[in-house]
C-alpha cells in the first residue's frame, strides 16, 4: 500500500488521505475571459511522471499539504507545506 508522510503526523497508509488534485493553481482575476476561466477550472497537465498535488490527511489531523509524486511508480519525491514553493527535484 502506498504511504504518505503527513508533515504533522508522520508516515501513514494512503487510505487515511484524500487527494485534492493538482496544486499551485492560480485563480485568474474576475475579469478573466471564459476561455481562461474554463482552463483554470478544468484543463490540467495530467503528467505521466512527476505530479505536484494537494493531499489532505482526511482521517487524521485534517490538514492539507503538498506532495510531489511520480504517477507511474507512485514514488513520493517530496512532501511540503501549503504555501511553500515547489521543490527542486532531480540532480
Amino acid at each position: 500500500m502506498m504511504q504518505l508522510s503527513c508533515p504533522w503526523c508522520g508516515l501513514r497508509d494512503e487510505t487515511e488521505f484524500a487527494c485534492g488534485g493538482t496544486t499551485h493553481l492560480e485563480r485568474p482575476p474576475l475579469a478573466a475571459t471564459d476561455a481562461d476561466w474554463g482552463h483554470y477550472l478544468f484543463f490540467r497537465d495530467n503528467p505521466k511522471g512527476v505530479h505536484l498535488e494537494r493531499w489532505r490527511h482526511a482521517w487524521g489531523c485534517g490538514q492539507w499539504f503538498n506532495v510531489a509524486r511520480d504517477t507511474v511508480t507512485h514514488d513520493v519525491l517530496a512532501v511540503y507545506r501549503m504555501g511553500d514553493p515547489p521543490p527542486r527535484l532531480g540532480a
Binding site: 502506498m2 488534485g21 471564459d34 478544468f42 490540467r44 497537465d45 495530467n46 505530479h51 504517477t71
Partner: protein, 416 residues
C-alpha cells in the same frame, strides 16, 4: 476468409493447422490519408468505419503495444445504455444497437450476452432517484424496469436479502438489453474487419511527436518506426490522451486514474445478470468461463500505473462478500487496473482539437468499452467529413469553456 460452420469443418479436417492470420502485419507506408493513434477498440472501430462508411481505406492504426492491450482488454465487459440526459441516451443506445448487430456485421463472434444489468437500491432515496431515472429512460425509448425486492430475489438468488444483510436491498433498477460482450473479440473483430477493407494495422509503433506546417495544421506523425505523412490524425488513447495532447501542444480537461478489476477462479453458473451496488462501490458478473468478474471504484489519485491500490481492492472484495456471502471461499486469480481518462462531467469528447487536422476521442472515463462502436462511428465521421457527427455535437471540447456540461456522474456506474 469468411468464418462459418463450413470453414470450421474444413479447418477441423486439416487439424486446424491452416487458418490464415486474421489481419496482416504490414510495414508502415510513408503516407496515409488518415492515421489513427491507438489500437484499442475505439481506434480500430474508427478505422473500420472510415473504410466501411466513408470509403477511406488508405488508413493506418498505430499501436504502441499490442491490439486491445490497454483498457479494451482490462474492462469488465459490460455494455449498457442506461444514461440520464437525452444527448447521452442517444449516444449510448446507438452504441448498444450497433453491438446487437456486431457479430453479424464483423463475421466475428463478439459473444454479446444481453443478460440484463441490475442496479441495487439500498435506501428509499435510491429507489426514488432510480424511478426518476427509469422514467427518463422510458421517455427516450430505452428499456428500463424497476424491480421489487422479491423480483430481485427471484432473478439473483445468490444475493443476500436477509434481514441481517449489511446493506439491505429495497429493490433495483434494471436494463434488460444490457449485458456483456467478449472484449478481446470486439478489438479483434474490428481489426480483422478494418484489415479486410485495406486498413494497415501497425503494432509496436509508438507515436513520439506530431508534425505541423507553418499554419499549425497537422502534416504527419513521428513514430518509433519513422515519420509518416498525413493530413488527418485521430487520437483514441484513453488514459494516455493527455500525453499525446502534450506532444501536440495543448491540454485536455482529463485526469488519468487507475480503475481496478479482478476475477475469481471459475465456478458453475451462479449469476446470470450484471449486479452493481453503487452504494458499496462494487459490481459483479459471471463470465462464460465461470469466473466472477468484479469491478471496483476508482483509486482516487492520478495514476498511470496499471495496477490498483490495496485499499480499494480490500473495499471492493468486502462489498462483494456483503452482497454475495457464498463467494467467500472463492480465490482471486487475477487483479489488474486500466488507466482511465476521467473528465469533470463523466461524458466523452469526440471532435476537433486546437490543432487543425488533429481530432480526438477521449473522456469515456470508466465506461469506454460499451461505447466502442459509437466512438468509432463518430470519430470516423468527423475525420472523413471535417464536421461533427450529429450524435457527437454536444460532446465537444468547447463545453468546458461554455459551461454546457453533461453531468453523467451517476450513470457512469461507480462513484468517482
Amino acid at each position: 476468409m469468411r468464418y462459418s460452420a463450413l470453414a470450421l469443418l474444413r479447418g477441423a479436417l486439416s487439424g486446424h493447422r491452416n487458418w490464415p492470420p486474421a489481419w496482416r502485419s504490414p510495414e508502415p507506408k510513408p503516407q496515409y490519408d488518415v492515421v489513427i493513434v491507438g489500437g484499442g477498440g475505439h481506434g480500430l472501430a474508427s478505422a473500420y468505419y472510415l473504410a466501411k462508411n466513408h470509403g477511406i481505406t488508405n488508413v493506418a492504426v498505430l499501436e504502441r503495444g499490442w491490439l486491445g492491450g490497454g483498457n479494451t482488454g482490462r474492462n469488465t465487459t459490460v455494455v449498457r445504455s442506461n444514461y440520464l440526459y437525452p444527448e447521452s441516451a442517444r449516444l449510448y443506445d446507438f452504441s448498444l444497437r450497433l453491438y446487437e448487430g456486431l457479430a453479424r456485421e464483423l463475421n466475428f463472434n463478439v459473444m454479446l450476452s444481453q443478460r440484463g444489468h441490475l442496479m441495487l437500491a439500498h435506501s428509499r432515496h435510491d429507489l426514488e432517484s432510480m424511478s426518476r431515472w427509469a422514467n427518463t429512460m422510458a421517455m427516450h425509448g430505452i428499456d428500463a424496469q424497476l424491480l421489487t425486492r422479491e423480483q430481485v430475489g427471484a432473478l439473483v438468488p445468490a444475493l443476500d436479502l436477509s434481514a441481517g444483510a449489511r446493506y439491505p436491498v429495497l429493490g433495483a433498477f434494471m436494463q434488460p438489453r444490457a449485458g456483456t460482450a467478449r472484449h478481446d473479440a470486439v478489438a479483434w473483430g474490428y481489426a480483422r474487419g478494418a484489415d479486410h477493407l485495406g486498413v494497415d494495422i501497425i503494432q509496436n509503433c509508438a507515436v513520439t511527436g506530431f508534425v505541423t506546417d507553418a499554419n499549425g495544421h497537422v502534416t504527419g506523425v513521428d513514430t518509433s518506426r519513422g515519420r509518416i505523412r498525413t493530413a488527418r490524425v485521430g487520437i483514441a488513447a484513453a488514459g494516455h490522451s493527455s500525453v499525446l495532447a502534450k506532444l501536440a501542444g495543448f491540454r485536455l480537461p482529463v485526469t488519468s486514474y487507475a480503475l481496478q478489476a479482478m476475477v475469481t477462479e471459475p465456478l458453475k453458473p451462479r449469476l446470470d445478470t450484471v449486479v452493481i451496488s453503487p452504494g458499496t462501490g462494487a459490481y459483479v458478473s459471471q463470465s462464460d468461463k465461470g469466473e466472477m468478474v468484479i469491478g471496483a471504484s476508482l483509486d482516487l489519485f492520478p495514476s498511470y500505473a496499471q495496477r490498483g491500490s490495496f485499499g480499494v481492492l480490500q473495499g471492493v472484495v468486502a462489498a462483494t462478500l456483503a452482497m454475495f456471502p457464498s463467494f467467500s471461499r472463492l480465490r482471486l486469480m487475477r487483479q489488474w487496473a486500466g488507466i482511465v481518462d476521467v473528465v469533470h462531467d463523466s461524458s466523452p469528447i469526440i471532435g476537433p482539437t486546437p490543432v487543425p487536422g488533429l481530432y480526438i476521442n477521449c473522456g469515456w472515463g470508466t465506461g469506454g468499452f460499451k461505447a466502442i462502436p459509437v466512438g468509432g462511428w463518430t470519430l470516423a465521421h468527423v475525420l472523413a467529413t471535417g464536421r461533427n457527427h450529429e450524435l457527437a455535437e454536444a460532446f465537444q471540447l468547447e463545453r468546458f469553456v461554455t459551461g454546457r456540461l453533461i453531468d453523467e456522474a451517476a450513470a457512469s456506474g461507480i462513484a468517482h
